[in-house]
Amino acid sequence: MAINEETLMWVEKYRPKNLKDVVDQHDIVESLKAFMRKPKAMPHLMFAGIPGTGKTTTALCIARELFGTQNWKNFTLELNASDERGIDTVRERVKDFSRYSRGAFGDVPFALIILDECDQMTGPAQTALRRIMETSSRTSRFILICNQSSKIIEPIQSRCAIFRFSRLDRTAMVEHLRDIGKKENVNASSEAIWRIVDYAEGDLRHAINALQTAAAYKDGAEVDEKVVSQIIGEASPKQVQLMLNKAINGDFIEARRVMYDIIGIYGFTGAEIIRQMQKELFKISYITPEQKAEFSNILGEYDYRLTQGANSDLQLSALLAQFARVGKALGDSS
């Protein structure tokens, strides 16, 4: 491809290609290397951990080590469980793929199937997945990726070697960002990089995207803390913040209107919106910690009702109405 490498997404460009380059997961890498020396003995794997800690990267590195940098794509099927329309699609694709790549390559007698976001699968889908794993075990190895292994049914867990990816060490993240900056000829101040790492909360992709955006803003000039703050501001969920502020200031009607703006464009579920609200609530500076706790409990109550109810819009509306009630009372008393 005749594309100028300078301007691709850096998360992809600097995704480690070899296990040894994976950032800050040394123990896991060491154990995995043992499997790489005797691939026939490799069991199904499960990678669990918060986003941006290297789970997908590690899985892709394993594919490269097993099948070589030339061929790995032919023997690796990458599926996003939450994107595929259902377990039937997964089953069909796995079946077709494992048939096609049977008797695979050199010393490795199986094909690799990487299934991302498995914890988003429903219980019945997971049970079906377990069957698929059994029936294709002679031709395929699975790497299942999830945020919480507890959301995966026991029979699947017991079939996998489970690796828990911990939150990345901040110093390791800083080093990695510096390294990318050097390669991209981006001059970034130490404060700027630490500010990014603080904001990313252990998610390396988040940090790299922020750095790349900051570099685009400065276009060659030094990336300083100021531009990082600006980016963080621009990339923060402004409409969720607006909705929260309107509700807390007692303006229910406007808050509900913003809610529908967000739902309309982004198609978020009720649970996703509540998660965002929870995050943003604690960043608000004009209410006390006690008041935040009160609002947070309302969020918790409606987060639960959402799981019980039928229509998430009603629950979100009711939630905003409770916020407006409490917020109005605060405004009157102060």
Partner: protein, 409 residues
Amino acid sequence: MKNDLWVEKYRPTTIADVIGNEEAKTLFVEWLENKRPTKKAVLLYGPAGVGKTTLVNVAGNEYKFRIIEMNASDTRSEKAINRVATPATSFTGLDKFSSEIKGNLLFLDEVDGIAGNEDRGGVNAIIKIIENTHTPIVMAANDIDIEKLRPLKKLCVLIKFQQTRIPLIIMSLKRICEQENITYEFEALEKIAINSQGDVRSAINDLQGLSEEGRTLTEQDTLALGHRNKDISMYDTLKNYFAAKNTVEATNILSYSTVECDDLLMSIGDNMSKRYTDPTKLAEAYNYLSLSDVFRGRVGTENWHLLKYVYNNLAQAAIVDPESYKPFELVTPPIRVITLFWTKPKRTLLTNICTKIGTQCHTSKHEAKMLFIPYLRLMLQQKKNTSTLIKWLKLTPEEVTFLTGLKMF
């Protein structure tokens, strides 16, 4: 007894007493007498309250059958049907020779009510029983144009019942008034009969509800009759619901409404902030609405007995502050539906972009939306050195314009 329901007190006791539908009555009696070689089962169908159930009972008695009845209030799973019906239809009983009883007659009322999960396999069970039966089987239904009854219809003699004619209903009402010593204006009986739309049962119920001993029933009295089966629209339901003064009134409005439960919940949610302007009252009302939705969730597709809790909470939400009611302009088309309709093109664009990001960056659409879109749109807004990035992600000009102008969620 004075307190008896008149529909029961004056229920016909002979075939001749059943008013109207003479042709259907003749067909049924002929089938029962088995005059011609015919099918083993019969299906009576037609509107409610015209005498189907009554006819089966009186004719069964006149022809000395022991009637074994199952109706919609019984659960009619395959198992339940077989438990009652198989013994009833497979042997005729010991007393066949010793008494006047001719044998059993299995009567399945409201067969169109066999539905979904509760009556799993119900229709098939009935078919099997018809195929093996030694005794007559009678079924009744309001609506037989439903898909699941199709195989059943083939095995039955179909007899259609029509709305009872108005003059016949008036005659019945007259007779009852005379028996009960009620004086009346003829126009009053006429109004009740017309209003019943051919449903004798409801006409008799209305007559009993409106008349008082020692007082003449006037045409004026009949104004109190609600129009039966009237389709109460969303607009009327909402209008009356929000104006309700107490839970009884609110409950009545909800139970007479023909608006579908989910649509109603949504529209009440859309109008709540117009009804209650005080934040405390609004929050209280929404709390009830939220609980109503929680019960709706628990109802799901099978626990319909929980539906009353949905409506109880809805009724509460209507009367949080009855004094504050002022008429307001109602929003009837659901805001959610309208919003999702108008924003659909944008949502599709966003989903497509996220799929493209996902393919290139090994990530799901969801993660692309949360983690890449916020930054990608900022990079594109800079408009410098973006062409190769756009090419790499295979974004169309339309998608680029959309992303550049996209507001953060």
